[in-house]
C-alpha cells in the first residue's frame, strides 16, 4: 500500500435544537425564577432540597412540597475559573460555587462574580443578582455576588403568566473528524477522478468505499483495485422527503449501486431517467462533475445515469464469479 495518503481532517459541528419538557417540579422552580423567587422542595426526611428535585434521592418518593428559600446564602466550596470559555456564564474570571441558600439544606451550583480569587472563601455570604429581564431559566440568576455588593434593582417587570413547562436546550458539539487511512486513500483517488476499492485477502470480495477491513472475515484489507464508472442497481428507493440543507428536490432516486468488480453496494443518486423506469438489475454509469470541482468527496460524482446495456440477472449482482474475482 502506498504511504502517500494524506491525513484528512475536517472540523465538524453536530447540532440539534432539542426541547425539554420540564415536568411539574422543575417547571415550578423555573417559573419562580422568572418571578425572581427561589423555591426548594421538602425531601422525605423534611430537609429542603435546592434546586427542587422530582424524586427523593434517598427514599425515591415523589416530592411535591415546595418551600420558599432566600436568595442569599453561604458558599460551601468553590473553584476559580481564570480563563473563561465561550459557553461560560461570564467573560471575565469568576468562581463556580456550591451555595447553600438560607432556608435550604442542600447547596446549589451557580457562579459568583468576584474580582479575583482572593475575594472568594468558603463560608462567605453571597446574594443572587437577578437578571434585568427574566425568562424562566437558571440564567435568570445573573450570578451571585458578595453580600455587601450594592445592586441596582432596575428590573423589567415580567408579564408572562403561563407557568414554564418546557425550555429550549440546543446542543452543538464540535469535533475534529479524521478520516481513517482507507478512507483517506479512497478520497485521494476520488480527487483524481478514480474509484479505487480494496480486496479482502481472505474472501476476495472487493469493498468500495474501502473500510480498511472485511467485516465478514475480520481481516485488514490493503490490496487496492481500481474499478470502472459502471454499476448495477441492486435496489433503490424513491424518496419523497427533502433532506435538510440539501439542494436535491424530491422525489429523487437513491439507489444501492454495485460497481463492476465490486461486491458491496453504496448509496448514490440516480438521474437522467424517469423514476418509474428504475429497476433492480439496471445498468448505470457515473456522471462526474467538471474536473476543476473535484475534491475529497463522493460528490465528485454528481449522480449515476442509465446506460444502454442489458440488465444484469439479479443473482449475479455483486457476487463473486465462480472461483473468486
Amino acid at each position: 500500500m502506498s504511504s502517500s495518503a494524506e491525513i484528512l481532517s475536517q472540523a465538524f459541528t453536530l447540532g440539534y435544537t432539542y426541547t425539554r419538557s420540564t415536568g411539574p417540579i422543575v417547571g415550578q422552580f423555573l417559573t419562580a425564577l422568572r418571578d425572581r423567587k427561589m423555591v426548594g422542595i421538602k425531601g422525605s426526611d423534611g430537609k429542603v432540597l435546592m434546586p427542587p428535585v422530582e424524586f427523593d434521592p434517598v427514599s425515591a418518593q415523589a416530592l411535591s412540597d415546595f418551600v420558599d428559600v432566600a436568595d442569599c446564602g453561604v458558599v460551601q466550596t468553590w473553584s476559580w475559573v481564570s480563563e473563561p470559555r465561550k459557553a461560560h456564564p461570564s467573560d471575565k474570571p469568576f468562581a463556580w460555587a456550591l451555595i447553600k441558600l438560607d432556608g435550604a439544606d442542600t447547596p446549589m451550583l451557580h457562579w459568583v462574580d468576584a474580582d479575583d480569587a482572593a475575594q472568594m472563601s468558603t463560608g462567605m455570604r453571597v446574594k443572587a443578582r437577578w437578571a434585568e429581564k427574566t425568562q424562566g431559566l437558571i440564567s435568570d440568576i445573573n450570578g451571585f455576588v458578595p453580600e455587601a455588593t450594592a445592586l441596582s434593582e432596575d428590573y423589567q417587570a415580567n408579564e408572562a403568566e403561563e407557568p414554564i413547562t418546557g425550555i429550549d436546550s440546543p446542543s452543538y458539539l464540535t469535533y475534529n473528524f479524521t478520516a481513517g487511512g482507507a478512507t483517506a486513500r479512497y478520497l485521494a483517488e476520488l480527487k483524481k477522478g478514480k474509484l479505487v476499492g480494496q480486496r479482502c485477502p481472505s474472501c476476495e470480495n472487493v469493498y468500495i468505499p474501502p473500510r480498511g477491513s472485511c467485516a465478514a472475515c475480520g481481516v485488514a484489507t490493503t490490496d487496492e483495485v481500481e474499478l470502472t464508472n459502471k454499476a448495477t442497481v441492486e435496489s433503490f428507493t424513491i424518496v419523497y422527503i427533502p433532506i435538510p440543507n440539501n439542494p436535491i428536490k424530491p422525489p429523487y432516486v437513491i439507489a444501492n449501486l454495485v460497481l463492476d468488480g465490486a461486491n458491496i453496494s453504496f448509496l448514490h443518486l440516480l438521474s437522467e431517467c424517469k423514476n418509474e423506469d428504475v429497476r433492480i438489475g439496471m445498468r448505470v454509469e457515473a456522471v462526474w462533475k467538471p474536473e476543476e470541482e473535484w475534491g475529497y468527496a463522493m460528490e465528485n460524482i454528481q449522480y449515476f445515469k442509465p446506460i444502454d446495456e442489458p440488465d444484469v440477472p439479479v443473482e449475479e449482482i455483486g457476487k463473486l464469479k465462480k472461483g473468486g474475482r
Binding site: 425539554r20 419538557s21 424524586f55 415523589a62 472485511c214 467485516a215 439479479v314 455483486g318
Partner: protein, 387 residues
Amino acid sequence: MAQLAAVVGVGQTKYKTKRGDVSIAGLVREAAQNALNDAQLTWDDIDAVILGKAPDMFEGVIMPELYLTDALGCNGKPMLRVHTAGSVGGSTAIVAASYVQSGVFKRILTVSFEKQSESNAMWALSNPQPFSPHLNAGAGGYFAPIIREYMRRSNAPYDAGIKVAVKDRLHGAKNPLAHLQLPEITMKEVEDSPMLWEPLRFLEACPSSDGACAMVIANEDLAEQSPGKPAWIRGAAMRSEPTMYAGREQVNPQAGRDCAKDVYKQAGIDNPRKDLDCAEVYVPFSWYEPMWLENLGFAEDGKGWELTMSGATSLLEGGDIPWNCSGGVLSSNPIGASGMIRFAEAAQQVRGEAGDHQVDGAKTALGHAYGGGAQFYSMWVVSSEKH
C-alpha cells in the same frame, strides 16, 4: 444450570406524540411505578435497575442513566445501562433476566424509554458526516430498498404491506395505551397516504412517540409468592452481525434466523406457528411482518406474505398466530422502549392481562426486537407454564 426467572410486574405509560406534562424522569418513573404497583412491590423490594434507551442523540441527554437514578430508586443499588440501538428494549430485558437467572440478583426492575418529542428522531439517525455524501433519509430510506428486494424475490402482492398497516392499527385500537388510535382505518386510506420512501407510504411507517415501559423480573421463589400470575421466561437469546459486509443477506439476515433458532431450542419450540399462541414482533415498517414471518420460521422463504394476506396474523380475523395484538411498533414507537414493549406485551398475553387485545387462552408467546441496520436481535419466549 440457569435458574428460572419470571416477569411479575409490567408497567407502561400511555404512548403519544408528546408527553409535555412530564420530564424524562417523570416519564420513566410513571412506567416503573406502574410495574411496581402491578407486582404489588415497593422500591425497597428491588435489588438492581437495568435501563435501556436508544442513542443519546434522540434527547441530547448524554448518559441519562446518571440523572435517572433518583427517579428509579437506585440509591445504594446497582444501575446498568444497555445499548443496542432499536433492539435495546429487548436486550435490556434479557440482561435483566440473565442477572436473575444467574442468581446474582433476586428481583430486578428493568425500564426503557424514549422521549422522541425532545428532538427529531429521523434526522438524529441520519446526521451528515464529513467525507461522506448525505443521502440517508431516515430509517425508512435505509429499509425501503431492502423491502423492494423482498417484494421482488417473493412476488408478494403490492398490498401485503398495506394489509399489515391496517391490521396492526386495528389491533392498536383495542389497546388504550397505543399511540395511534385508528379504529376506522381502511386499506384504501393506507394506499392513498403519501408515499415517503417508495415502496413505503406514510401509513406503512411507525409513528414517533414518547413513552416508557418497565418490568419487574423475579427469581422462581419470589415469582411464586407474587400475587399476580408470572410469565415464565422459557428462553432468551441475542445475536448481532456487522451492518456492512460483502455478501450480507439483508432481507433475511442470518443473525435473526440464528437468534430465533436458539430461543426456540431453549423453549422447546419445534414449530413456532403451532407451538406459540401469539407473537409481539418489531415491525416498524409494514413489510417487515412478512419478512420476519420468514426470518423467524413462521413461514417458508418467500411465503410470509401469504400468512399475512390470509389473516393468520390478525386477532380480529381469528388468525391462528396473531402478531402484534397490542398494535405493535406501527401503532406506538418510543424507540428505546419499543423492544421492551414487545417483550412486556408477550408477558401480558401469557399472564392473561392483555385486556381487549388478549388472545384467548394464550400460554406461550414470543417477544422480538431488532435494531441498527437490522443487525441486532433479541428475543424471548415467555409462558404461563414453568416447563
